[in-house]
């Protein structure tokens, strides 16, 4: 049995093991390939939008705003997914952080508290995953319910207004050129995370943790610490999104984030981040969020009703996931074995 099993595992082991140079090269190739797919989508969406709804580009600040809305949470999520874990609690984290922030009269204190809440949620998630060994999908599902409940309890089931609404309104105004603080923070988050996972050793090790955890451990990577870092990034970024949303809206809403979770997952997946970890990139996630944002804005501008928009987005998602190189290889593989089996049985008969 083991003899049969090893050929399957081999590519992974080779890419993560002692042959670090080859491994890195292999990973870069893989990453580029997934970004290529997101890029193809972006090109198609961009060209179609440019022909039918040029407004998408001429009024780019609105489009950028949508991309930043979808993309910020997706960036944090990508950090966790790279390590082969999931964080379903991001949307509820966003809501709780907003409510905490609005409940505190002092704005700086509120922001600090909200971001701290995000970090703590990340730590708790990681603790469940590493300390107890709970599957992250389930641990964060529990947190999804718990935090959503907390947001309702803390807010008294009603929107909580900021004490300083003027500051919020000022926050929504462009700061540099047409760029609002939201977009600048989004760009900043992208740059930091991109540099972190490509240039910083700790970040680069995320890929190894996601690709083959055993091999990563053998190579001396502190897997537990990396997972804590990943969940803290995801929690922090989700809380940051909650802070930005609350500031821009001048109020925190306990039901916030209802459309965020699924949209940010979609962005990460379209961007080629593999849900089993080890493959994908922050840049790909940016491309995914950008394509999704342009697609949504273009469909909105051309007056396509929401139901049809959802059908289109669902189709794009389905196509994205089944045209994944691994998927196509799986199909090719099973087709080959099917044909082989058939020819063998024919030969036998």
């Amino acid at each position: 049995m083991t003899a049969l099993k090893s050929p399957i595992k081999k590519p992974n082991v080779a890419s993560q093991g002692g042959l670090a140079g080859f491994g890195r090269q292999f990973r870069t190739v893989m990453a580029r390939r997934t970004e290529g797919r997101a890029l193809a989508l972006l090109l198609v969406v961009g060209i179609i939008a440019a022909i039918f709804e040029p407004l998408v580009f001429t009024s780019y600040s609105a489009t950028l705003g949508r991309i930043a809305l979808i993309g910020l949470v997706a960036l944090g999520l990508a950090a966790v997914i790279l390590m082969g874990e999931l964080d379903l609690s991001v949307a509820s984290t966003l809501a709780v952080a907003g409510v905490v922030m609005a409940s505190i009269d002092s704005l700086p204190l509120g922001i600090a508290a909200a971001l701290l809440v995000g970090l703590v949620i990340g730590v708790v998630n990681a603790f469940f995953v590493m300390g107890f060994g709970i599957n992250s999908f389930i641990a964060t599902l529990g947190m999804l319910f718990f935090l959503r409940g907390s947001a309702f309890v803390l807010s008294g089931e009603e929107p909580v207004r900021l004490t300083n609404r003027d500051a919020g309104i000022a926050f929504g105004k462009p700061l540099i050129g047409p760029l609002t603080p939201r977009m600048l923070l989004f760009i900043l988050a992208f740059i930091i995370l991109q540099v972190f996972v490509t240039r910083v050793r700790i970040g680069r090790e995320f890929y190894a943790v996601g690709g083959n955890r055993e091999a990563a451990l053998d190579a001396g990577i502190p897997v537990t610490r990396r997972i804590f870092t990943g969940f803290m990034i995801s929690g922090f970024v989700a809380a940051l999104a909650g802070v930005i949303n609350t500031l821009e809206r001048t109020a925190a809403d306990p039901t916030a984030g209802s459309t965020v979770l699924l949209a940010s997952f979609a962005a990460a997946i379209i961007g080629g981040v593999l849900l089993t970890g080890g493959r994908g990139s922050i840049f790909g996630t940016l491309l995914g969020a950008t394509s999704l944002g342009i697609l949504q804005v273009a469909l909105t501008l051309s007056g396509v009703q929401v139901d049809v928009q959802n059908i289109v987005i669902g189709l794009v998602l389905l196509i994205a996931v089944i045209t994944d190189p691994n998927s196509l290889r799986a199909v090719a593989g099973s087709a080959r074995s099917f044909l082989q089996r058939r020819s063998r049985s024919q030969a036998g008969g």
Binding site: V45, R66, P254, T259, V260, G303, V304
Partner: protein
């Protein structure tokens, strides 16, 4: 062999993706063209309608067609969005709308407390805004040109008035079924009902309240459990925030062999589900909410603003009380 296949894969993938996307996009565009062709007419005016619901909710389903028909009649080209009650999504749609520079924006706030930045952005861009269905906060009123729609707080209050009238000063206990937790219509209707009861008829005491999520099945179970919690003998009345939910509460009473006509039961809506219940005497009173009035007048108000007519600050949908006396009258024929 395997290598070459891998190298070709990206190209094949890209081709496949482009093909599929072009197909999907054409499908979408084709649909929008036909929709535009139907709705635009001459298209004298470009108007964006930022709504938090549409075909995903029963009310939105019957709100949209009269709105679109009226727009066509008045030569308004409507672009409609649906934020599914996500305030952040609606804010982003507002940015898109402002960028598109339409002649006017019709706003149905997803969360009333969150729309001020959107209103200011529209003001800075010189785009007039009218509100529909749910009004903006009082301090934001100067940023909109007018409001048309129901008075959601007033509806809760009117339903409480029926309850108080029917109780006639007797000490009674009631249970309350609210709408979806956190939803602004749910909050306003509850406040209108509860504040009127507390202020004007202290003889009515609210024994328990739970959300029914605007759903009949959720409401039925929640109502039944509240009956268990406070004891059937202590309950002389039921209020639910809409007719769909009150129908669930009535079913809950029936399944316990309690005759609903013996209780004072009120709600809001006068829908296709609620109106027959008023006629049969099970539901004592409801407040007529006309989705067609709401949808049509959103456009009429917009048109009045666009053509420079003087408009009132508030164009309230008449909150007609529907009881056994007038339930069969033509002017309160249910619509949704």
């Amino acid at each position: 062999m395997k290598r070459t296949m891998r190298k070709q894969l990206p190209y094949k993938l890209a081709l496949l993706l482009i093909g599929a996307l072009a197909f999907a996009a054409c499908g979408g565009d084709g649909d929008s063209d036909s929709a535009d062709g139907g709705a635009s007419g001459d298209g004298d005016y470009q108007v964006y309608a930022l709504l938090p619901q549409g075909n995903d909710q029963p009310y939105g389903t019957t709100y949209l067609p009269p709105m679109e028909a009226k727009a066509k009649e008045l030569g308004i080209e409507l672009t409609i969005t649906n934020s599914q009650y996500d305030a952040d999504k609606q804010a982003s749609e507002c940015e898109v709308a402002v960028a598109a520079k339409p002649d006017l924006i019709i706003l149905w706030p997803a969360i009333g407390d969150t729309v001020r930045p959107c209103l200011e952005a529209a003001k800075d861009a010189g785009i007039p805004v009218t509100a529909t269905n749910s009004d903006v906060n009082p301090e934001d009123k100067d940023l909109i040109r007018g409001y048309s729609g129901p008075d959601t707080y007033g509806q809760g209050k009117a339903s409480a008035e029926i309850m108080c009238d029917q109780a006639g000063g007797a000490d009674i206990g009631i249970i309350v079924v609210n709408g979806l937790t956190g939803n602004s219509t749910a909050i306003n209707r509850r406040d209108g009902f509860v504040e009127h009861v507390e202020g004007n008829c202290p003889n009515i005491s609210i024994l328990a309240e739970q959300p029914g999520d605007w759903n009949k099945d959720t409401s039925q179970i929640a109502a039944s459990e509240m009956i268990t919690a406070v004891g059937a003998e202590n309950i002389q009345g039921v209020y639910a925030a809409d007719d769909t939910m009150v129908a669930g509460a009535i079913d809950a009473l029936k399944s316990r062999d309690i005759d609903p006509s013996g209780l004072i039961i009120t709600s809001i809506g006068n829908t296709l589900l609620g109106n027959p219940l008023v006629i049969s005497g099970e539901l004592d009173g409801t407040i007529f909410q006309s989705s067609s009035w709401d949808g049509e007048n959103a456009v009429v108000l917009a048109h009045d603003v666009l053509t420079g007519k003087d408009v009132e600050a508030d164009l309230f949908m008449p909150s007609v009380k529907v009881t056994a006396d007038n339930a069969e009258a033509a002017d309160v024929a249910p619509e949704w």
